[in-house]
């Protein structure tokens, strides 16, 4: 009998939840750094320069993050494909909205929308950064971050795509936050109602915050 976590349904759910927690933590951190861009150009540059050049962040946290995203994505798709195979014949009439909400049933859809957004986001910010550092060997420009960000948010189409993506992120998180606790085995009369409230708060505040930051940079450059 195999007791490896990755080989059972419950184990895979727990791993999914762990990768979800990790992404939730990363996203909050990313949000805080972005907030600096609204408050002060210098602080934003300073923090970004630190994140972009600190070896621990670059060579330990960044690979872990990349792995976390790819794992979450791969595992999400894998679980979904198994789930589809578990019901080969569909109901002629089905009313899933009678007993569950849309967000909980469409994590794959909202997840894929986030993934598409991540493609654009990597192209916008991550690839230029990698090119600067690892191809052109330029590690020491502590003031480039803010102008780069401003440049990207001059483009209305991009701002709109970003805003729409954050709606999908919010939908994904409105189920995902509390779901991760449940998958990890944490469900308690006393704390679960609070976790659900926190989840709703997180799923609204963070995406709305990102939208405001994007709009801020667009409108201040008009």
């Amino acid at each position: 009998m195999s007791t490896k976590l990755s080989s059972s349904s419950v184990g895979r759910k727990v791993l999914m939840a762990l990768s979800g927690f990790f992404l939730l933590f990363f996203l909050a951190q990313h949000f805080v750094i972005n907030l600096f861009s609204v408050v002060s150009e210098d602080t934003f540059n300073e923090v970004s320069h630190f994140m972009g050049t600190n070896s621990l962040v670059q060579f330990v946290l960044q690979p872990v993050l990349l792995f976390g995203v790819l794992f979450h994505l791969g595992m999400g798709m894998y679980l979904e494909s198994k789930n589809r195979a578990a019901r080969p014949i569909k109901y002629a009439l089905d009313k899933p909205s009678e007993n569950s909400n849309w967000m909980s049933r469409n994590m794959l859809i909202t997840g894929i929308m986030i993934m598409l957004f991540l493609g654009l986001h990597f192209y916008d910010f991550w690839l230029p950064e990698i090119k600067d550092k690892f191809i052109d060997g330029k590690w020491d420009d502590p003031t480039k971050y803010f102008p780069h960000l401003q440049h990207k948010f001059q483009d209305l189409t991009r701002v709109i795509i970003y805003c729409i993506s954050f709606v999908f992120l919010g939908l994904h998180l409105s189920h995902g936050f509390q779901s991760a606790f449940q998958s990890a085995g944490f469900n308690h009369n006393k704390y679960t109602p609070l976790i659900k409230k926190l989840g709703t708060l997180y799923a609204i505040l963070i995406p709305v915050g990102f939208v405001i930051i994007a709009l801020f940079h667009y409108f201040t450059q008009l």
Binding site: M1, T3, V10, R87, P96, E98, N99, Q182, G185, N187
Partner: protein, 250 residues
């Protein structure tokens, strides 16, 4: 009440099957859904058509054999009931009602509305039992002190009748509510401690082997469960599983 029924008909496991339309008239709104199907079948017999096969036994909500996906919901539109306890007053006169079997790769249709639920039995056999001393000196169960909360929780989950509505309604066809109920009812009691670790490992393994899907915490199962078993116990099962798999020797 006069109704139009769209009923799934399928000769055997191999047959492709399809929906057939039947009319029933003069149904009392106080009759149960199964009684309505009985009336329909009598008409079919008189017409020389083969009656529709469906599962039922106790007709009082305790055996779990009456399945049926009615108008897009497991056990129909009412809550906390099985199909035998579903009353026709839940429907409108003249309504068209879809009657389908549970749909799950792990519960294939045997005939018409009857599905093969032996996958549940194999899961039960893999761990849903406790060892007792049969030497004749069996201890009085009441002699064992059990905290009230644990007794209540064990009782809540022991109410599971193995109907399969959780699987039928889950978009992933996941059996986790059922297995969680069967794992938890023993995990809370002193009698269940002997096999506690092995039980959850074996039952989850068998569940996976049967091909049930993975829970995505939509919560549909607890809404449709006739015995209102909460997904709190799925989290309980996950905890049991985690601790058993981390501490197991292999």
């Amino acid at each position: 009440m006069d109704l139009t029924l769209k009923v799934w008909r399928q000769k055997n496991r191999e047959d492709k099957g399809g929906l057939e339309t039947y009319k029933v008239t003069g149904i009392s709104e106080n009759s149960s859904f199964l009684e309505m199907l009985d009336v329909m079948n009598e008409h079919l017999i008189m017409e020389g058509t083969e009656p529709v096969a469906f599962d039922h036994d106790c007709r009082e909500g305790i055996c779990g054999s009456c399945s049926l996906y009615i108008n897009g919901e497991a056990h129909g539109p009412d809550r906390k009931v099985t199909t035998c306890q579903l009353h026709m007053r839940m429907f409108e006169d003249g309504e068209t009602i879809y009657v389908e079997p549970w749909r799950s790769a792990s519960m294939p249709v045997v005939k018409d509305l009857i599905v093969d639920r032996s996958s549940f039995e194999r899961i039960q056999q893999s761990g849903g039992f406790v060892s007792v001393n049969t030497s004749g000196n069996t201890q009085d169960a009441n002699a064992l002190p059990i905290p009230k909360m644990n007794a209540d929780k064990a009782f809540d989950v022991a109410a599971c009748i193995g109907c399969g509505a959780c699987v039928a309604t889950c978009k992933n066809s996941s059996a986790m509510l059922f297995v969680a109920a069967k794992v938890s009812q023993f995990a809370y009691l002193p009698q269940g401690q002997l096999e506690r670790k092995q039980r959850v490992l074996n039952m989850v393994e068998q569940m996976d082997k049967e091909g049930f899907g993975n829970c995505t915490n939509t919560g549909a199962c607890e809404v449709e469960c006739p015995k209102s078993i909460s997904i709190e116990y799925i989290a309980k099962m996950n905890r049991e599983y985690l601790s058993a798999s981390i501490t197991s020797e292999n």
